[in-house]
Point group: C2
Chain length 430, copies 2
Amino acid sequence: MTTPLRVGVAGLGTVGGGVLRLLRDNAEIVAAHAGRVITVTAVSARDRARDRGVTLEGVRWHDDPVALASDPDVDVVVELIGGSDDPARALVFAALAAGRPVVTANKALLARDGVALAVAAEASGASLRFEAAVAGGIPIIKTLREGLAANRIRRIAGILNGTCNFILTNMRERGREFADVLADAQKLGYAEADPSFDIDGVDAAHKLAILAALAFGRAVDFAAVHVEGIRQVSALDIAFAKELGYRIKLLGIARRTEAGVEQRVHPCMVPENSPLARVDGVYNAVVAEGDFVGRVMLEGRGAGAGPTASAVVADLIDVARGRCAPVWGAATERLSALPSVPIGAYSGAYYLRLMVLDRPGVIADVAGALRDAGVSLESMLQHGRAPGEAVPIVLVTHETRESQMREAVDRIERLESVLERPSVIRIEHG
Amino acid sequence: MTTPLRVGVAGLGTVGGGVLRLLRDNAEIVAAHAGRVITVTAVSARDRARDRGVTLEGVRWHDDPVALASDPDVDVVVELIGGSDDPARALVFAALAAGRPVVTANKALLARDGVALAVAAEASGASLRFEAAVAGGIPIIKTLREGLAANRIRRIAGILNGTCNFILTNMRERGREFADVLADAQKLGYAEADPSFDIDGVDAAHKLAILAALAFGRAVDFAAVHVEGIRQVSALDIAFAKELGYRIKLLGIARRTEAGVEQRVHPCMVPENSPLARVDGVYNAVVAEGDFVGRVMLEGRGAGAGPTASAVVADLIDVARGRCAPVWGAATERLSALPSVPIGAYSGAYYLRLMVLDRPGVIADVAGALRDAGVSLESMLQHGRAPGEAVPIVLVTHETRESQMREAVDRIERLESVLERPSVIRIEHG
């Protein structure tokens, strides 16, 4: 048995507390896998008084988290403060500059500063690990970086935000509207008081940018991710999805096309018998499609103290064993120069739901607008009749370019008998 | 860029050919992830003349595979001969004894000689990797050994044999009997001419023994795996399963109980909405349940040249990067002494299907036999009437000990109006 690995933990919220409890409860299992004892020697957090269910006796307390980067009794820094700004950012860069390995769950920082972090890690030879940054306890970072490393990845698609998946699942199961279910989710602690980071897709976009960089061996490019959230998804669309054999999921999708790499986060219609359609509630899942391996899917809990602590400590075990891997799977000088493809170049099938005045000629007008934009229809659905009143019409298109679809929607919206902005949801194979 | 990693491949069948093609087609991706070029310098196979779709020009040919262990131009040996006997066994031990890392897909050898192999690897400091031995391209070995290494695993359950899953899926979808579907599978190349290794559960048992050793940090104990195959599964049972809301799957299950570790491979009734029930055809999947991470599931193609080559080369990339891990996740001296629990101590719910003569008093006799063995019934199902003829009766029990169930079945079988050996299938939560 070699000397213990001494850990400094910055941030003792839900995840930090979980890490301390795991290292205490599973100390023997962790030591067996790590080949040495892993022990917390220093911490930093805002509130000294808070009860975290774990004794901090004998552990050094730093008021300034950045001090962990230079604490002589710390071998590895665990950053669980979060956010892409200081002090999290300053701490991670300071530790890497000092040649000290860093384990973090900070997806925002990685999505925004991923390349600079890799350069800093390479300059000092320190490792930077972030299994907990994406999909909680699911080992998707290790899987893309090591497990599937022999493959040319064609596509990844994932349910990356548990809050959105919980809301969409509840809307479907109980036939309720978004706002009602969001309020419930907030009461249950599955959504934040300010939920915009989750429900507007930003959190999923951070995670997708990280996965895409690993999958395609290129510099992380968060700015190029097309992002739409779930605020516009209505109970009516969910009911139509069911009727058409689909489920609505917020997916993060990155795809290698002839033009480069497409990255997008938005609600999707996925066939109800596809693997991602079945992933409900707070579960996350990621599908990766590789040229040799085919389709692989990983599913598990995407958040929470336990799963996230599991991921953080797995990274610590790798550090303890001296297992190294470049931050983005390959050395930064070997990352590919594949360009990002804008959403306008996207091509696929679309679901389009209109509210129209039920009167003669409406369908002809809508069909004409689609024709004029070069969009071809696969099917149309209208239930019942209510002459002179508002009724929904659902259209499913054949494969269409995004730019054409936008033109069609603009034309349709200008029609006199179309009553509100059409609901547009892309159809994805799951 | 450091020097190339020189690979010697023993066995150039389907998988060996796949490895050669992957290393050629994805050379750049592999080199970026490995930090160096990976190149095949020597091979050994039975048939020199066979076209494998890859040139072997400039590659040294050994008639004796064991010679790869001492070839001075080989840094790492890839063993794809298969089987727990020589020459595969001799080659792996010779390479480890020479301190040369080994990558293998040989589940039979690992299941039977796993501890001796780990001791040999530790003695010389060579690494032994076997991602391709279980579940093809799914990185389940790395996930258990590294990704979930912080957890106390409570249970693993998996669909580990693609041939069986293909047969059971086809029986269900097309309402056909086992023998017919097996014949089709043989024509399609999804089943061997002698299919017993797959359909009798031996292949799944090898894989389960390997997964259980990793999950529970103990010496592999293949002899303790309770094994039943799928020959006895009838179209009638599959139809009843559907009616009861279940699907029949051949699962490998290892569970930590108060008494130790339970390992079993047998057909199971799993609820149709459980994740494993949805895994159809040639796909494999493994569920792991850990104390911190909760339930994680991995799904993908369990066999074939592409997925298996993906796993072999991922191991080679780990070797190239110098990433090390003990064979069974922890040093052999740290493996736990948890005992194996015999199947007689298993406890769970059972599906029981009888063929009886439809005459007064039969149900009373059966119910009496169950009562006398201490088995309590949850439900009973009988369709239609056919006085004086054979009819099926289905019984579902509450949780029952295996030993009691066996006694009950013996009693029932002796009843005069029971016409054949009852069909008994354990119910599992999936």
